[in-house]
Symmetry: C2
């Protein structure tokens, strides 16, 4: 699930989906989850005919409004039900002030220039007022697998044939993946070596309520966003609990420290050092209009202040116009030597409106600059590869340690390609148990509910290769909590679900692994009453977690 | 000159004007200045018929625009004339980013809610791209006199009869001053004691170019604004010079550190401690609509984070509705005990739209809470008292140390009341040498140029007491520098003049002076091509200083 859930959409990252089938020995857990679905899902199926209001009335606040919103039945928890409204108002006000003073901001989409000019049209980033409860064991589990996933991405990226073969059917159905594969092929042809390999990933999870399994939603290997702002949300929640925790019986120490921005900056600095050109800069590849720019600016700011490394921001079109390769393979853009290329654009088809952008991508890939990510890292992040890796015995091709393999597999949700007719029929019968995911990136493209049935039937009728543009994924039903979501200065009380992202960084120079670590986290919370409600309504918020 | 020069107007403070006359022995310096005026002013008289453009063309920036603007002839310095435009663009971009990440923000007046709801409709505070050159000797002079002015305010505030007598004519002509005096009288009647006396002042100066005299414009004893944001501007300039100083041949260490916000918070905390009620809060008296709220929030934030002291924000109307005096004289507002009242409203007639607000002011004055300022401190800050204090032998009534007296007097510009017919005639003859200042607060009310002549003639004709609502002040002509002013993401290159504000804090409990110190500074820079151009166009910016 991409960050396009957020009004500050920013960067939506690619997926790796590690699929498992019902029949696989190696996915006993996943099939177990699936066999339990009748029970799990019945509790949570939306009953649109029977909605209730949890809060009795909207309340005018000094700082905005608490709006009572419609919620589903069957909600398991209402943690903040009993909080005194006056206390909530105070916390809302303090939180909005805190955001403004500490740079927890995004560009306001109602202000035209806010995606281009920094310092104008700013609004607080959408956030949850209080951190989301999350079991400490699952938190530790997610942290523990981060370095293993980092390693897996690197190993898979080295297997060019696996990538090309796995994506061969997708290539025919999805033009974007096809162009990425073309660049990948060209690099193979010229025998391009990537000695310094840099990954800044984010693996996203949901905690299935009934089974208590932590299941991976996707692995982002390009443009993993919100490392800058998520650190701030954790700080905000700690600050609020420092001031109000006693009244709420909450302890700020249960919000894990979140050093994602400093760790990411540190890794970028290390990559810069490995490249070893003191006059070089880090280039951030950006969209022309970017309302999540402050998330990116935080990273550049820390990079400058703590490591004295300059970063420049360029769109793909600018790189095409201003970039050139030197004879030694080094990249110069606008007269500036570039040692590290950090992509915060280039992950979605819309980022390539003309051949210029593809030309820029190719130019960068051909250069000796460290790419975060390289084309092969990018491809490892596709949904199809996620699904391939989840097949029986595939992980074993890339990883040696059996314990590591077991740990990863434990996180895999059910993932299937559409050439599995049993699963397709099952999904037509019970579409509410599945999510249909297109290769197309950008968030908001997933298919849910009855639309799954209609889409699958249409594909069956067509009988084309078009089905290769999709995968099916087991639908996960996380716990629902009553929470306060703040957007545009207005507080909404509603039932919500959360998705945990764990950042990971990997840096290798030839055979030497320099960094392989977990790097903080991102919690995102969205209203639970719609499938991709967060996307449609732009209503998901940044959050942190409260360990239970 | 009030902060209403700024689009983020915030709080405009009262004046103390220390006047001197041409005939006074004790104002040799001031008369010297005045006798030089022909020479001084001729250099700088606006030649509206002969304007030129300094920059040849407007330049589109990634982050906005550099606009060539009309400038006067006779500009003494063009420090930034030779800077490479690309470098300027980079600095502008970095500065805008820095402001956003570090809370150097105000409410955008084009967004309706931005003065009420924090976190929405934010825009960077207007600022100068680079610090203003300023002689180190004059900087030291301004810092040195701060504690003396603090002491003077306290001493004068104790002389109730002096205040009432000096303002007796003003009382008849100015309704606002009259209401303040009424409260003052009531406190005298009930023999109200103010044992803990707290002043957070700002003394504003301009450096007269020709004479090199640092002359006081006014002394603000209520609602001295920008202590929060001005610290940040100094940090911003230091950061820019750390990164670009070598290219500009500027050293960041020449920008004096500015700890105004932490010092003000520290003094408020000390006052809270003296009051000695651990359950009490600091109450910030605010306007209902306040786009300069973040300047105030910074102070409250530091007060909470470093001193663990809670502050609440209330309008005068809210205080009237929710406030009550206890039998022991203590103040409770909305159920909260208040130990320190910090006024960021209440300085202008518009802050009292009904009797409610006056009732609230009286209630607070009657309470035992520490008032910043008390009614007597507030009165000391009127222009009339400034003018009275500048008369011969008046300072001697309040201060003992002759050196201290000489230091203050050295800062006094020429100040006259309108019952001095010689001066009035002189001002009618040469209005360009004077500024006519009404008691009315709020900035933007000063009278310049030919309007001075017209206003004085009209007052002569009327022959009423109306003239007591004004004073005349020598017009000061500071050096003009070419500078870059940023507002709303757009950079304007223009000739500008600066005004230096020095913060001072004074805290006394009975006979014990707990704090008497200088507390950082505020530099404000505005386009020089109009008298109160900054006010009319809203175009003055926050700045810092570069010691030369």
């Amino acid at each position: 699930m991409g960050v396009a859930h957020f009004s500050a959409s920013g960067s939506v990252s690619s997926d790796i989906m590690y699929s498992s089938t019902l029949l696989s020995k190696s996915s006993i857990k996943a099939s177990l989850v699936f066999s339990l679905t009748n029970q799990v899902f019945q509790t949570h199926l939306p009953k649109s005919t029977n909605k209730t209001f949890h809060s009795s009335q909207p309340l005018l606040l000094k700082s905005g409004k608490v709006r009572a919103m419609e919620t589903q039945e069957g909600v398991s928890s209402l943690d903040f039900h009993g909080i005194d409204q006056k206390l909530v108002d105070k916390m809302i006000y303090d939180a909005l002030v805190w955001s403004s003073l500490h740079g927890l901001v995004v560009g306001d989409k109602s202000v035209q220039r806010s995606g281009k000019v920094p310092g104008v049209g700013m609004v607080h980033a959408p956030f949850a007022l209080l951190p989301m409860p999350f079991p400490e064991t699952h938190w530790k589990q997610a942290c523990e697998v981060a370095p293993i996933f980092n390693e897996l991405v690197d190993r898979v990226s080295l297997e060019a044939k696996f990538l090309q073969d796995s994506l061969s059917r997708t290539k025919k159905a999805d033009a974007f993946t096809s162009r990425l594969l073309d660049i990948h092929s060209k690099m193979l042809e010229i025998n391009k070596k990537e000695e310094i390999r840099l990954g800044l990933h984010r693996s996203d999870y949901m905690l299935d309520e009934q089974t208590k399994f932590l299941l991976q939603i996707e692995m982002n290997t390009i443009s993993s966003s919100f490392a800058g702002l998520s650190s701030l949300v954790s700080d905000l929640h700690r600050s609020l609990l420092d001031n109000y925790g006693k009244l709420l019986n909450l302890d700020s120490k249960r919000v894990p420290g979140n050093t994602s921005v400093s760790q990411f900056a540190n890794v970028l600095a290390k990559a810069w050092t490995e490249y070893n050109n003191p006059r070089s800069a880090v280039m951030v590849v950006v969209q022309a209009d970017e309302r999540n720019m402050y998330d990116q600016h935080w990273l550049s700011s820390v990079l400058k202040e703590r490591h004295n490394i300059t970063s420049i921001r360029k769109t793909l079109a600018e790189i095409d116009a201003e970039g050139e390769l030197q004879a030694d393979g080094s990249l110069i853009v606008d007269g500036q030597a570039i040692s590290v290329i950090y992509f915060r654009a280039g992950y979605a088809p819309t980022d390539y409106p003309s051949e210029s952008e593809w030309s820029a991508r190719l130019l960068m890939e051909q250069s000796s600059a460290v790419k975060c990510p390289s084309i092969s890292y990018h491809l490892v992040g596709t949904k199809k590869i996620q699904q391939e890796l989840a097949k029986p015995n595939v992980l074993e091709r890339f990883l040696d340690n059996k314990e590591d393999i077991a740990k990863l597999r434990k996180c895999f949700a059910g993932l299937w390609s559409l050439d599995d007719s049993d699963i397709v029929n099952k999904a037509i019968e019970r579409p509410e148990l599945f999510v249909m995911k297109p290769q197309r990136e950008g968030g908001g493209n997933n298919i849910y509910g009855n639309d799954v049935r209609e889409a699958l039937k249409a594909l069956q009728k067509e009988g084309t290769e078009e089905d290769a543009a999709y995968i099916l994924m087991q639908r996960i039903f996380p716990s629902v909590f009553s929470t306060f979501l703040l957007r545009d200065g207005i507080c909404h009380k509603d039932d919500a679900i959360s998705e945990l992202g764990i950042y990971g960084a990997y840096l290798r120079n030839k055979e030497k692994v320099i960094i392989n670590e977990q790097c903080g986290y991102l919690m995102r919370t969205k209203i639970s009453s719609s499938d991709e409600g967060g996307v449609a309504a732009g209503f998901a918020v940044l959050d942190s977690l409260y360990l239970t």
